[in-house]
């Protein structure tokens, strides 16, 4: 049944995304795109964009969006519930252990070693988004028609604004979008 599938997929996303925010990206990608094909990579990238511009965690946004696209409001509720349930259980157990023993060193040790793995997995998600943006067929070959110069230009500009000018990420993304709209309008109307 689709509701159970949605629930279980997002249960896994909720249970294994340590580190918050971007850490959920590789897990969402693995379940929603690679395993169940509920979204295309382009939809997924749009979803991240939308998530950045609306309040709320990416995982919850993804659960609501995917659930709704696949099975309407009941689908979004099943997915969101799946996403939140592991949090409820883990947080409660940890809080209970904490009030009992006042010692979180094991959990913090585990977290310390998870952090580099999370960085690596976010990098993978980033590469999965950038490759098809830079190359039409998604593989890094510089044949004519495959390599897209404009997105690379936007990317370099965005990196500059983010790193050197410390600009707000949402503004940076909107600027990239506006640049593309301007370009396409110019091509269409001139």
């Amino acid at each position: 049944m689709i509701y159970i599938k949605l629930f279980l997929a997002f249960l896994q996303i909720g249970a294994f995304s340590f580190g918050g925010g971007y850490a959920a990206l590789p897990l969402i990608q693995a379940q929603v795109i690679d395993r169940y094909h509920w979204l295309t990579l382009a939809d997924f990238t749009d979803l991240i964009t939308i998530s950045q511009m609306t309040p709320g965690p990416i995982a919850i946004n993804a659960a609501t969006f995917v659930g709704n696209q696949i099975a309407g409001v009941p689908g979004s509720l099943a997915a969101t519930l799946g996403c939140v349930l592991p949090s409820c259980i883990f947080v409660t157990v940890l809080a209970w252990l904490y009030t009992k023993y006042r010692n979180l060193s094991l959990m913090q040790g585990i977290l310390e070693s998870l952090r580099p793995a999370v960085v690596a997995m976010i990098a993978t998600a980033g590469a999965a988004i950038l490759l098809p943006t830079f190359f039409l067929d998604g593989t890094p070959s510089f044949q004519a028609g495959n390599f897209q110069a404009r997105p690379v230009f936007y990317f370099v500009g965005a990196m500059f604004l983010l790193r050197k000018k410390k600009m707000d990420p949402v503004k940076v993304m909107v600027l990239c979008g506006a640049a593309e709209v301007a370009w396409q309008s110019a091509v269409k109307f001139l």
């Binding site: 340590f18 580190g19 925010g21 991240i48 950045q52 509720l77 940890l94 949402v170």
Partner: protein, 195 residues
């Protein structure tokens, strides 16, 4: 510190729900922002939790899997009102994104076929990629600064396993968590021996 029990139980739950609802609806910029705001609300404004304990609650929220904002709401809810507190706090935290993304989802198809939106979204892809790479750079350089060979090895091997060999994220998380647990236990044993 005021005792939250001075309030009626109903009053605490109501305040929990509306605080988390409000924070979740109006905070952009990810989980860490919301954790700061939870502290402002429950430590500085309401005095229901003291500062040191709040730091530990934040550590619990960060140590658990899932969205930090939701975890933060849950742990504060648990601390103030037990299981009903968890229910009301997490409901408050989840409701705003649930409603907003439901609306977005309904209009997505129409949205997507609009010429301007289409251009916006496709241009923003490069921007999203840049934001993610920038986050990776920040987090990666803080790992690199630790000069901890094991952590660096974990980072390199996880990337290779995930990117080149398509090893499932779940297995990587489980394996690395086990490595971290063993390491912490060994470290603590050593500390016990020397003292």
């Amino acid at each position: 510190m005021d005792d939250p029990l001075k309030e009626t139980k109903k009053g605490v739950l109501k305040k929990l729900f509306f605080s988390t609802l409000y924070l979740s609806a109006f905070t952009f910029g990810g989980g860490y922002v919301i954790v700061t705001l939870l502290k402002n609300k429950f430590v500085d404004e309401l005095h229901w939790i003291d500062e040191d304990e709040m730091l530990d609650l934040v550590a619990i929220a960060q140590s658990s899997p899932g969205a930090i904002a939701v975890n933060g709401a849950i742990v504060v809810g648990y601390k103030l009102a037990g299981l009903p507190g968890i229910l009301f706090a997490s409901l408050g935290a989840v409701l705003p994104p649930l409603v907003i993304l439901t609306l977005v989802s309904y209009f997505y198809a129409a949205f997507r076929s609009n010429f301007i939106i289409q251009g916006m979204l496709s241009g923003m892809r490069a921007g999203v990629g840049a934001v993610i790479i920038s986050v990776v750079y920040d987090m990666g350089s803080s790992v690199a600064k630790s000069k901890d060979a094991l952590l660096l090895a974990i980072m390199a091997v996880s990337f290779a396993a995930n990117y080149f060999f398509n090893v499932s994220v779940v297995y990587i998380v489980l394996l690395v968590a086990a490595i971290g647990a063993v390491r912490t236990i060994v470290r603590e044993r050593r500390k016990d021996k020397t003292t």
